[in-house]
């Protein structure tokens, strides 16, 4: 047993650090660390820098322009990039639809879509959930009916993250209603500019516009936009979900969040002393740090198993549950740390270019909103209840 990085891995970490020191724009990092909103332009600017470095497509084979990092290298990248304040990558194109196209798509689809994902020309969003199909995803009802060279798509998708920025959407659609739910689903790539598509914002409880509803009314989609075989979409969807689940535990984000929390608790006062020195509050932070230490090693154990050629199994479901709980408790403490200042909702202070005097702490404004927003962590990507069902079946065999 050896829990240390190899010399090569340490060299890689130095390379990552040197790159981030040199290339990560300070304004973008400041926004990420201050929980400010990033614009579409910020995301695209950073993506171009990553692409130029050749580090954008970490899950792709090199022949398509990917990096082929080892699991440990990916882990190092995750830790370092969270620490530095690198923007969360928008996964729908590069980490979700692309692996499906690479594995199941035809040559023409690879030629058409992969370069445009690398260059940032296409912004993808995900058309999975529907109003009636959440945890029970296979019950989805959006229909695609073959009509000559086209499918005619009708129905509704929901919780479409950043759909307002997207020009492409990958959708699970029903192409056969006669068979078992899972066997009548197909995987379609749809241009958002096609007539009949409407995007409607969903405003969340924190006042944020991050998710959308997408309506399809007799939308004509060319048959060449079908990935793989008709009615095999569920297999592709599950393949994609294994990519979605990796990283959902957010260990790197929790580590960055914990640093931020400690800095905040050092600035805030209780009885004239830094809040972090207070026994009650100090222990609350310490407890999270201890839990995170354990989760971080659990995460590395999965990374090492995959490095050794294994598949991430139901252990990643357990880690998703634990990891999201830890992130949520960090948000909980950050909100608590600002006391009565959790109440004011000063929207302008959360914006990119606010240069006025902060109402209280320089980072206080978004903390309560962020706490509420991150209740989503235990809901999306397969709710924590669904993850526990997976563990129940796959590991415990109950």
């Amino acid at each position: 047993m050896n829990l240390n990085y190899t010399a090569e891995e340490l060299a890689f970490r130095d390379e990552v650090r040197a790159f981030l020191d040199d290339q990560l724009p300070a304004d973008i990092a400041a926004k990420v660390k201050g929980f400010k909103h990033l614009s579409k332009d910020d995301h695209q600017r950073w993506q171009r820098i990553l692409s130029k470095q050749g580090w954008y497509a970490t899950h792709w084979p090199t022949e398509y322009g990917g990096v082929e990092w080892s699991p440990v290298q990916k882990h190092i990248w995750d830790e370092e990039s969270c620490h530095y304040g690198v923007p969360r990558s928008i996964p729908f194109g590069v980490n979700m639809v692309a692996p499906v196209i690479i594995r199941f798509g035809n040559e023409a689809q690879k030629q058409q879509y992969l370069p445009r994902i690398l260059s940032g020309e296409d912004w993808w969003c995900q058309g999975y959930s529907e109003p009636g199909a959440g945890s029970d995803l296979a019950s989805l009802k959006t229909r695609a009916v073959r009509d000559g060279d086209h499918y005619i798509v009708s129905g509704q998708k929901t919780w479409t993250t950043l759909g307002q920025h997207a020009n492409m959407i990958f959708c699970l659609v029903r192409t056969n209603t006669e068979v078992k739910a899972q066997e009548g689903i197909s995987f379609l790539l749809i241009d958002m500019d096609t007539p009949g598509i409407t995007v409607r914002p969903i405003i969340t409880l924190d006042g944020e516009h991050e998710v959308n509803e997408v309506f399809f009314e007799d939308v004509k989609v060319p048959v060449e936009n079908l990935v793989g075989e008709e009615n095999k979409g569920w297999t592709y969807a599950k393949y994609l979900l294994t990519y979605e689940r990796t990283g959902l535990a957010g260990i790197g984000l929790s580590k960055a969040g914990l640093e931020h929390l400690k800095a905040l608790a050092t600035r805030r006062l209780k009885n004239g002393r830094p809040l972090i020195e207070d026994t009650t509050f100090g222990q609350r932070i310490a407890q999270i740090e201890i839990d995170l230490m354990a989760a971080s090693i659990s995460n590395l154990r999965i990374v090492a198993a995959v490095e050794g050629g294994g598949m991430p199994g139901a252990e990643s479901s357990m880690l998703k549950v634990r990891g999201t709980e830890i992130r949520q408790s960090i948000n909980d403490l950050a909100r608590r740390a600002i006391g009565v200042y959790a109440l004011p909702f000063v929207e302008e202070e959360m914006s990119l270019d606010y240069d006025g005097e902060p109402l209280s702490d320089e980072n206080a404004a978004p903390l309560a909103a962020q706490y509420f927003n991150n209740r989503k962590l235990s809901i999306f990507g397969g709710s924590n209840e669904i993850q526990k069902n997976i563990v129940t079946k796959m590991i415990l065999e109950l």
Binding site: S129, G132, G134, S135, D136, S139, T158, W159, I202, I203, T204, L205, D206, G207, V211, R268, L269, K270, N271, G272, L275, T280, F281, R284, D332, R335, R336, G339, V340, Y341, A342, L343, P344, F345, V346, L359, S360, A368, A369, Y371, F372, R375, K376, S378, I379, F380, S383, N384, E385, K388
Partner: protein, 381 residues
């Protein structure tokens, strides 16, 4: 022993419940919240006409005589409607401070207006550094001539944006966290030197920070004896804690009602999701938390107007601790039981979930009250 409301108390609660149901639909609340005032002037007027703003005051002011139980009945129903009116700030806390500390002429000047709802009071006790310790006051009151000059900052004064009268604590003697040396001042919000930084709150209400910059007040603006306000503040915030606990119970009941309704109607895997045991047990846990919260709100109401004692202080700290924890548990578990829909602005439930979390940020969170309770235990064992 009898936990039931008497006939009059039940009538009072029914009256408020009917009024809230009629005037405070979720859609209307969103509209009220978006106005500059941040609540409904009309609804406030109705509360006044029905004598509800006078409930805690003596009969000569049109009230019921000040029992915590009547206040509890009103607050629970205002909570159920997520009402935005400054009842807690003006009627309970503002009115309470004037009643306890004011001299006869101050009471005659302000209490009839507070009881009738015409005079809205906001109270500034927290400060940027105070972290729920209301003795941690660095706002200064310096003697000048026959009055005082006030300098300092009051944090998150709910209702302060529209108040007709502000009551603030300030220090005329003692170190920054000394319980002695605090005084209360009732001041005109438009007096020279007062700056208000107004904002909405995340749970839909409005408030402001108040910056006092060489504000000159006369000696008769002082409420109560100079330097002796600490006890008054503790007693009256205790009454406000009881009222806030009652509000929280109304919010919890509605949040749980909506969640239960959703579990019975939302279908996944061919059945209502309420058929899944994991959600059933979670719902049971939420309901048990609500029972604990109800019990403590009742207990808090029963001691709120007692003479100050260690037992009263222990009880109120315990109540706010239970309410804070139950509120967060119910809020988080109810969101999770809903899934994404529980996080949407368009659905009333999400606003109940937010209010429950924010109640824990008013008048001390569960940690603060656990410390208060512990300190009393350690001082008396």
């Amino acid at each position: 022993m009898d936990f039931r409301l008497n006939e009059e108390q039940q009538m009072l609660q029914d009256t408020v419940a009917r009024l809230v149901r009629g005037e405070y639909s979720f859609e209307k609340r969103l509209e009220y919240s978006e106005t500059d005032l941040g609540f409904s002037a009309e609804f406030w007027q109705q509360l006044s006409e029905l004598g509800l703003t006078a409930v805690p005051f003596p009969e000569e002011l049109g009230g019921f005589g000040g029992s915590g139980v009547e206040v509890q009945s009103v607050m629970t129903e205002l909570g159920r409607g997520l009402c935005l009116e400054p009842y807690l700030q003006s009627v309970i806390l503002g009115g309470g401070l004037i009643s306890q500390a004011g001299n006869d002429s101050q009471k005659a000047q302000w209490l009839p207006g507070v009881a009738s709802g015409e005079l809205k009071v906001a109270v500034g006790l927290d400060e940027p550094q105070s972290f729920y310790n209301l003795n941690d006051v660095s706002t200064r009151a310096e003697k000048s001539g026959d009055g005082y000059t006030l300098n300092g900052r009051k944090a998150v004064v709910l209702g302060g944006h529209c108040a007709d009268l502000l009551i603030v604590s300030a220090r005329s003697a003692g170190d920054v966290r000394d319980p002695d040396g605090l005084s209360l001042f009732a001041i005109d919000p438009n007096a020279a030197g007062i700056e208000r930084r107004t904002y909405p709150t995340i749970d839909g209400a409005k408030g402001c920070d108040i910056i006092l910059n060489n504000v000159k007040v006369s000696a008769d603006a002082r409420l109560g004896e100079e330097g002796k306000a600490g006890e008054v503040i503790e007693y009256q915030t205790g009454r406000a804690i009881a009222a806030l606990c009652a509000e929280a119970v109304g919010v919890m009941e509605e949040a749980i009602r909506l969640t239960l309704d959703y579990l019975k109607t939302r279908k996944q895997f061919g059945v209502p999701i309420g058929k899944f045991q994991v959600l059933q047990h979670r719902m049971v846990d939420m309901s048990s938390e609500l029972e604990q919260a109800r019990s403590m709100a009742i207990l808090a109401a029963s001691v709120a107007d007692n003479e100050q004692s260690i037992e009263r202080r222990r009880t109120l700290a315990a109540a706010k601790n239970v309410i804070g924890r139950a509120g967060q548990f119910i809020s988080e578990q109810a969101i999770q039981s809903h899934g994404g829909i529980g996080m949407t602005w368009e659905y009333s439930f999400a606003h109940y979930a937010k209010r429950l979390i924010m109640i824990n940020h008013q008048l001390g969170d569960d940690d603060h009250h656990l410390e208060q309770f512990t300190a009393l235990m350690q001082a008396t064992h």
